[in-house]
C-alpha cells in the first residue's frame, strides 16, 4: 500500500503523466457508458472500425502537416454516420461493412506513413498508443467531451435504455430512435479520437467493450450494469497505468491486460452466482 502511494505521488509529480491520467480516466468513463449500449445493440465492432479510420486520418494529417485533431474528428464523425447507416439498412451486412472500412482505412494510413520518407512519424505509437502524445489541448477537449457525454447519458438515460432494449417498440411509440442512435455514434466517435493517441488505434475499442461485458456477467439490471461499467473502467485504467509505470510496459497494452483479467474474474463470479 505504501509503495502504491509512492508510485502515485511520482506519477502526480510529472505533468505528462498527470495529463495522461486525466484524459485516460475521462475517456475510459465515457467509453464505458457508451459501451453498454453499443455492446447490447451488437454494435461493438463499430468502435473498432472507427479507431482504424481514426488511424488513417491521423496518419494523413501528419504526412500533410495538418493539425491531427482537425482532420481526425470530422473524418471519424462521418465514418460513424456511414457505419451506422450501412449496418442498419445497407446491402452490405454490418459486420462486413465494418471490416471493409476499417481495413481500408488502416491500409491507407500505413501507405501514407511509408510514402513520406522525410517525416518523422512513429507508426508504433499511433498503433499502440503513447502517453507522451497527450497534449494539454487534449486535456481540455476530453474534459469538455466527458461533460457532454455524462450530461447526455443522464439526461437521455430512459431513452437510451428504451432504444437499446427494443428499437422497434421505441420507434412505434414515438421515440426518435434514429436521432439517439446517431447521438451515440457521434459521441463514440469523439471518445475514440480523443482516447486513440493514448491507447493506440488498435486497442482503444477495448475501453468500449470490456467494462460492459464484465458487468453483464454479474449484474442483472441495466442500471447496475451501467454503474458497474463506469467503476470498472476507471479502476482498470488506473491499475493499468500503475503497472505500465512500474513495469515500464506500454500503457495501452497494460490496460487491456488488466481488462482481460477483470473479465475472467467477473466471468468466474458470474458462474458461481448462477450455480449458487
Amino acid at each position: 500500500m505504501k509503495q502504491l502511494i509512492e508510485v502515485f505521488s511520482e506519477i502526480f509529480s510529472s505533468p505528462i503523466l498527470v495529463r495522461a491520467l486525466i484524459v485516460g480516466v475521462l475517456v475510459s468513463l465515457c467509453a464505458a457508458l457508451l459501451g453498454v449500449s453499443l455492446v447490447l445493440k451488437r454494435f461493438s465492432m463499430i468502435g473498432d472500425g472507427l479507431s482504424h479510420v481514426g488511424f488513417g486520418a491521423l496518419a494523413i494529417a501528419a504526412v500533410m502537416n495538418l493539425a491531427p485533431m482537425a482532420v481526425a474528428i470530422p473524418v471519424v464523425l462521418i465514418a460513424a454516420f456511414l457505419l451506422l447507416r450501412l449496418s442498419s439498412n445497407g446491402k452490405i451486412k454490418g459486420d462486413a461493412a465494418i471490416a471493409m472500412i476499417s481495413t481500408g482505412a488502416l491500409g491507407i494510413g500505413v501507405m501514407a506513413v511509408s510514402m513520406s520518407k522525410g517525416t518523422n512519424i512513429d507508426l508504433n505509437s499511433y498503433l499502440f498508443g503513447s502517453i507522451m502524445s497527450v497534449s494539454s489541448e487534449d486535456v481540455v477537449i476530453s474534459v469538455i467531451l466527458a461533460v457532454i457525454v455524462l450530461f447526455m447519458f443522464v439526461f437521455f438515460y430512459t431513452k437510451i435504455f428504451a432504444i437499446t432494449f427494443d428499437e422497434s417498440f421505441a420507434k412505434a411509440t414515438g421515440t426518435a430512435a434514429n436521432v439517439y442512435n446517431m447521438l451515440i455514434a457521434l459521441l463514440t466517435a469523439m471518445t475514440i479520437v480523443i482516447g486513440m493517441r493514448l491507447m493506440g488505434s488498435m486497442l482503444i475499442s477495448s475501453l468500449i467493450i470490456f467494462p460492459a461485458l464484465c458487468s453483464m456477467r454479474v449484474f442483472k439490471s441495466f442500471k447496475s450494469v451501467t454503474i458497474c461499467s463506469g467503476i470498472i473502467s476507471i479502476v482498470t485504467f488506473l491499475a493499468g497505468m500503475v503497472i505500465s509505470y512500474v513495469a515500464e510496459t506500454p500503457c495501452g497494452a497494460s490496460i487491456v491486460c488488466v481488462n482481460t483479467l477483470t473479465f475472467l474474474i467477473f466471468f468466474v463470479i458470474g458462474k458461481i452466482k448462477k450455480t449458487a
Partner: protein
C-alpha cells in the same frame, strides 16, 4: 413492391381484430404501416378522435439481442411509459405506479426485480405485454404474441389478452393461429397474396377464406 391493393378496413373502439394470412401476404408491412414505421404506398391510415400516433401499445416479435439483455422486469415495463414523457428525463411517481399496476394486472408483480433474460418465454411475453399497456390504454397491437410458446402458456396468454380487451382496450393481433383467432376475435382481416377479406367472425366462417385458411393450416 405493392403487397396488396385496394384493401380497406376499420377498427372500432373496444374491438378485437385478428389479422391472419399467408406468409408474404403483407401482414408485417401492414403492422409497420399502422405503427407509422413505414408509409403505405397509396391510401392512408386515419386515426379516429382521441387516438394519437404514439398511443399504440406494441408487442413486437422478440429479437436475438434481448435474449441476454441485462434489464430488470421493472425497467422494461417502465420503459413503456416513455412515449408520454417527451424530452423530460426520468419517470414520475405516477408513471412508476402505472407500471406497478399493469404488472399487478398481468400477474408478474413478483418478478419485478428479476432479470428479463432469466425468465421463461411466457413470462417474457407478459412483461412485454405490460410494457405495451403502459404505453396506452386505448389500442394494443400484438405481432405473433404466442410464437414459440407451449400450449398451456399460449392459452394463458390468450386469456390475458381477452381480459385486457374486456377492460376496454382495443386489440389488433397478427397471428398464424387460426383456431385462436376464431375463438376470441370479434373481427377478422384475412390476407392472401392476391385477395383479402374483412368482416366479423361469423361472416368470415361463411366465406371461402375460412376453408382456404384451414386448408393451408392443414398443409403446415
Amino acid at each position: 413492391m405493392t403487397v396488396i391493393e385496394n384493401m380497406s378496413f376499420e377498427v372500432a373502439d373496444g374491438d378485437y381484430l385478428c389479422i391472419v394470412g399467408e406468409n408474404g401476404s403483407g401482414k408485417s408491412t401492414l403492422v409497420k404501416a399502422l405503427l407509422s414505421l413505414k408509409k403505405p404506398e397509396k391510401g392512408a391510415i386515419e386515426f379516429g378522435e382521441g387516438l394519437k400516433k404514439n398511443e399504440i401499445g406494441y408487442l413486437p416479435q422478440q429479437t436475438m439481442a434481448q435474449k441476454d439483455f441485462p434489464a430488470s422486469v421493472y425497467e422494461v415495463v417502465l420503459s413503456g411509459c416513455l412515449n408520454s414523457r417527451g424530452i423530460r428525463p426520468f419517470y414520475s411517481a405516477k408513471e412508476r405506479k402505472k407500471a406497478l399496476d399493469t404488472m399487478e394486472l398481468l400477474g408478474i408483480i413478483d418478478l419485478k426485480n428479476r432479470s428479463y433474460r432469466d425468465l421463461s418465454g411466457g413470462q417474457q411475453q407478459r412483461v412485454l405485454l405490460s410494457r405495451a399497456l403502459c404505453a396506452t390504454k386505448k389500442l394494443i397491437l400484438l405481432d405473433e404474441p404466442v410464437a414459440g410458446l407451449d400450449p398451456i402458456v399460449t392459452a394463458e396468454l390468450y386469456d390475458l389478452i381477452e381480459k385486457i380487451n374486456k377492460s376496454g382496450v382495443t386489440v389488433i393481433m397478427v397471428t398464424h393461429d387460426l383456431s385462436a383467432a376464431l375463438k376470441c376475435s370479434k373481427h377478422i382481416l384475412c390476407m392472401t397474396e392476391t385477395e383479402w377479406f374483412f368482416g366479423s367472425r361469423e361472416e368470415f366462417l361463411k366465406s371461402k377464406f375460412a376453408d382456404f385458411m384451414r386448408g393451408s393450416e392443414a398443409v403446415d
